[in-house]
């Protein structure tokens, strides 16, 4: 068996009866045992469940009854996704012993697709508060260099996918929590269009900004995972009632004819990125141009204009979710979360409503700017991962991030690795589409990955195991 398989590769081998789901699962369990003591990407490893899932998949393989391309694929769930009978903590002391009775809708769908549940993955506390060192579990570490930050909040998913402990996993994204860890850990991750994938059974942070989505090593794998999680959920009031397209349909196409708008001022002026990040974006644009894409610059309002209402709405809604506990158990939260959310108590109703009015203005602005474009491109993160002990507490107030604009507008946004910086850590770009145009976003991301060699490199800690 190759040491590192993508979901697409493993699925094809399983379908051809050339790969045993049990062997693949044991390989991942072995890696978890050897590496996760340094990574802390898992809050709980569900070994018995994983082996049972894998054996059931293998039985289906042998009887030609596979459920599809995810059957037998080892995955993990961010620990804000409810799992029936399996502890779901939100990485918080407040839910340290919480055992749900039902799976999240996404969890149900992935289980129905035949995935193998390896365990529950680290997050920032309730998907906002990290990196925190005062919680019952340590924060996840970046597998490219464990002194460095993973970003968050889907930190465990980012670390475990990059290190090859799982082939894919769930994330959630309220201000960048899928794309941030994807960027800093050098993997692919998509925040789908708001409403495409159910949020039911996932611990809420900010209901009008929360998105569920997949993270994996490649764009193609994200398309496969999203296929199995998208769709209308009548019990999620934000869920879109529309057909789910084939997200892999355009993966064979290159970028020819794509109309690409570069939001250059986001990453050159509003929050200037590192030289390696900028080079990655420019090189990607050269690749798209050579394939026949039409590229132009596009100007939106300053990035902070998008971040400000986004963070205000997030803080207000998250405070509303947590207010009872904040009033009764303030000190049971980690310091970062309680300080960030306490600011929400100081917001007025008028300020919240004005931010919602501003949100609509900015949604209209983005829609108009994209009228003659297929995708936007900017950075996912400003640079390589910082050291984990050097992450500013109030980073979101100090500088605009690249991801919040697309939570605010609800547009699909994909982070793709564009190489490695001087420190050997990944850099990335962000590809943004029109509402429900995930297939086009995947097409561009896959075309880029196929034209570059970045997917051939794994963290040294993982490759060292293969001898």
């Amino acid at each position: 068996m190759q040491p590192f398989l993508t979901i697409a590769e493993a699925g094809a081998l399983i379908a051809a009866k050339k790969l045993s789901p049990v062997e693949l699962t044991r390989l991942c369990l072995d890696r978890i045992e050897k590496l996760d003591g340094q990574l802390h990407s898992f809050l709980m490893v569900t070994e018995d469940r994983a082996l049972a899932d894998a054996k059931a998949s293998e039985a289906r393989m042998m009887s030609a009854a596979l459920k599809g391309p995810l059957d037998g694929i080892p995955i993990g769930h961010k620990d804000i996704y409810n799992t029936a009978g399996i502890r779901t903590t939100g990485h918080s002391r407040l839910l340290e012993h919480n055992v749900p009775t039902e799976d999240s809708v996404v969890g149900q769908k992935w289980a129905a697709a035949g995935t193998v549940l390896m365990g529950k993955l680290a997050t920032h506390e309730f998907a906002i508060g990290g990196p925190s060192f005062d919680l019952p579990w340590p924060p996840a570490r970046n597998p490219w260099n464990t002194d460095h930050f993973t970003a968050g909040s889907s930190s465990g998913t980012g670390a475990s996918v990059a290190a090859g402990l799982v082939l894919g996993g769930t994330g959630s994204d309220t201000g960048g929590s899928i794309r941030g860890p994807s960027a800093l850990c050098g993997i692919a991750g998509i925040k789908p269009t708001y409403g495409l994938s159910s949020r039911r059974g996932v611990l809420p942070l900010s209901q009008t900004l929360d998105h569920t989505g997949p993270m994996a090593w490649t764009v193609q794998d994200c398309a496969l995972l999203l296929q199995a999680m998208a769709g209308h959920d009548p019990l999620d009031p934000a869920s879109a009632n529309r057909p789910v397209p084939n997200f892999s349909a355009d993966l064979g196409k290159d970028a020819k004819g794509l109309r690409i708008g570069v939001v250059r001022h986001f990453h050159e002026v509003d929050n200037p990125v590192s030289p390696a990040t900028l080079k990655g974006i420019e090189d990607a644009l050269d690749i798209f141009r050579a394939q026949g894409a039409v590229i132009s610059d596009v100007t939106l309002s300053p990035m902070m204009d998008y971040n400000a209402p986004g963070w205000l709405i997030l803080t207000a809604e998250a405070y509303a979710v947590h207010e009872p506990w904040l009033k009764e158990r303030f000190n049971d939260y980690g310091e970062l979360l309680r300080d960030r959310l306490a600011l929400g108590a100081l917001l007025s109703a008028t300020e919240y409503v004005q931010a919602l009015r501003r949100r609509r203005v900015l949604c209209l602005e983005t829609r108009d700017a994209m009228a003659d474009l297929d995708i936007l491109i900017t950075a996912s993160a400003p640079a390589e991962a910082p050291k984990i002990h050097e992450v500013p507490k109030w980073a979101m107030l100090e500088k605009p991030n690249f991801t919040m604009p697309f939570n605010l507008t609800g547009l699909p946004a994909l982070s793709v690795c564009t190489g490695y910086g001087a420190g050997g850590l990944p850099v990335s770009m962000q590809i943004v589409g029109k509402p429900f145009a995930e297939a086009t976003v995947f097409r561009a991301g896959h075309a880029y990955e196929m034209a570059t060699e970045w997917r051939g490199k794994r963290p040294a800690m993982s490759t060292a195991l293969t001898g």
């Binding site: 009548p234 400000a308 300080d339 306490a342 100081l346 300020e351 004005q354 009015r357 949100r359 107030l397």
Partner: protein
């Protein structure tokens, strides 16, 4: 806003914070106020919020 006024503001929220915890928030509050100001510029009277009530609930 001074520290004392800020302390009263926090107390009115119903949160129970120590003086040290209030001091941390007080230090960040100017940045938060700047963000609020940026998020709430003057808008036309007709500007609708992004969330609109729907009478058909599921």
């Amino acid at each position: 806003m001074g520290k004392d006024a800020f302390s009263i503001l926090v107390d009115r929220t119903g949160l129970t914070l120590t003086d040290d915890q209030k001091a941390v928030l007080f230090a960040a509050y100017p940045m938060f106020q700047a963000m609020i100001a940026r998020a709430t510029p003057p808008m036309p009277r007709e500007a609708e919020p992004s969330l609109i009530f729907l009478p058909e609930v599921m």
